[in-house]
């Protein structure tokens, strides 16, 4: 039986109240955001669930060319938000739009999706590529970069009582381009692999680039060696091929019963190459041609 020891569900109205309940060791309480992950992890020892649904953390705000998104915002709201659609070449919108089904997106929240990444989770890959910041509130507040946040599984380093409250997406300058692609067997299926690339260009010169691969391991990985091949160089098919080759070789791949390591490396090569052809070389690469 799932949640076999569950005794209570509480509904705090403020973040401070939620933190207080979650900090109390004796209560054995766990945060409940969309609640969708409980279908995958039965949490047998949990005695209390603290619903975050009444906290004032459901918002999307534009700020100085960036975005601030509250942790309890459902993914569906990202999909209907004009601000999200217009931000970062639409990369965040594209990612949100391809998470689960419409029904799932009405439940899954931004915070829940980031705090408990699964091998198929989408947001983490893009949050890392966009160099977003994560606001955490507990007895003290702390701000982490996405890079710091995803060095370990977030649930391992979040202290008792700490909540992710907001994701801060930095301004996205005009000379930046971004794209996200994922490979699924059917439209709604859990992704086998995904890639997000954010780069800065002047003409065809790649000034800066971040390449992130998700789904090869539970946590998203930056592929620094592939980035290095492109940084401060004039974009060309040879460089793009080289970078995608290196990305496919360098990523760590954990065991996944759904496909072989070799297959994931092939997917990585195809996705990195296809995205770079689109946003660095301005080629029109239809989705079917990626693979």
């Amino acid at each position: 039986m799932r949640l076999a020891k569950l005794q209570r569900v509480s509904y705090p109205e403020t973040v401070a109240e939620a933190i207080q309940i979650l900090s109390d060791k004796k209560r054995g309480a766990v945060a409940l955001s969309g609640g969708v992950s409980f279908v995958f992890s039965p949490l047998q020892s949990v005695e209390e669930l603290v619903s975050l649904s009444r906290l004032p953390l459901n918002y999307i705000k534009r700020k100085n060319g960036g975005l601030r998104i509250g942790a309890t915002t459902p993914i569906a709201d990202l999909v209907t938000s004009r601000a999200v659609k217009n931000y970062g070449d639409g990369i965040l919108w594209e990612t949100a739009h391809r998470i689960g089904s419409t029904l799932n997106r009405n439940l899954i929240t931004v915070g829940g999706n980031l705090v408990q990444p699964f091998i198929w989770s989408d947001l983490s890959t893009v949050v890392l590529a966009l160099r977003a910041g994560i606001k955490i509130q507990g007895k003290k507040s702390r701000d982490l970069s996405a890079e710091e946040f995803f060095t370990r599984l977030p649930r391992q380093f979040l202290k008792r009582g700490e909540l992710v409250t907001e994701i801060v997406f930095p301004p996205f300058p005009k000379n930046y381009r971004a794209a996200y692609e994922k490979f699924t067997l059917t439209e709604n299926d859990f992704a086998l692999l995904k890639v997000a690339v954010v780069l800065a260009r002047s003409g065809r010169v790649c000034r800066d680039v971040i390449i992130v691969v998700g789904g090869a391991t539970i946590l998203p990985q930056r592929v620094l060696s592939a980035e290095e091949i492109l940084r401060k160089k004039i974009g060309s098919q040879i460089l793009v091929n080289e970078a995608s080759e290196v990305a496919a070789e360098e990523i760590k791949v954990s065991r996944d019963i759904r496909c072989s390591e070799e297959y994931k490396r092939d997917l990585c090569r195809a996705l990195v190459r296809g995205i770079l052809e689109r946003i660095l070389l301005d080629q029109k690469v239809p989705e079917w041609k990626l693979f």
């Binding site: 949640l3 279908v39 619903s51 689960g100 089904s101 419409t102 029904l103 799932n104 439940l107 709604n188």
Partner: protein, 155 residues
């Protein structure tokens, strides 16, 4: 297991219930309240047979704990019209042959109803997107999309 108190509005009726804290919304509806129009297919958020409308949004009742719905409003297929007559979507499903075995039908109709509430004149793409979490093993979807489109056209 110690029971918790749940205040919830279902199909316009307010309920105060004592429930097991780990009860899913789907079990509350089917087993406790006998609203068996909402179906259970997969139980893991993939088939949409359990679709209900929670505070205006179509969701999977198998993924939500009933305790998450305290103070909230749920509409199930039984509450779609509040009367004995059929909802235009139900009639359109009949007229367009969009029902075969019927197991997916309540969920399909709830997803469509939530869509039309938010967007009375959806495109075919909007319709397909709205029912993307509802699997049908019988019809091939064409008649379902046509039925929803017909109601939208009447709007």
């Amino acid at each position: 297991m110690k029971k918790i108190t749940l205040k919830i509005t279902i199909n316009g009726r307010k309920h105060t219930l004592r429930i097991d804290p780990n009860l899913r919304l789907l079990d509350l509806l089917r087993d406790e309240l006998r609203l068996t129009g909402t179906k259970e297919g997969c139980g893991i958020g993939e088939c949409g047979a359990c679709t209900v409308i929670l505070d205006g949004r179509a969701v999977n009742a198998c993924l939500i704990l009933a305790g998450q719905c305290n103070g909230r409003e749920v509409v199930t297929i039984e509450g779609l019209t509040g009367k004995d007559d059929l909802h235009p979507l139900q009639q359109a499903f009949i007229d367009h042959g969009a029902v075969q075995c019927g197991f997916c039908t309540p969920g399909m109709i709830m997803s469509a109803a939530a869509l039309l509430d938010q967007n009375p004149t959806p495109t075919e793409e909007d319709i397909r997107e709205a029912i993307s979490g509802n699997l049908c093993r019988c019809t091939g979807y064409t008649q379902i999309v046509e039925a929803i489109q017909a109601v939208a056209d009447d709007n």
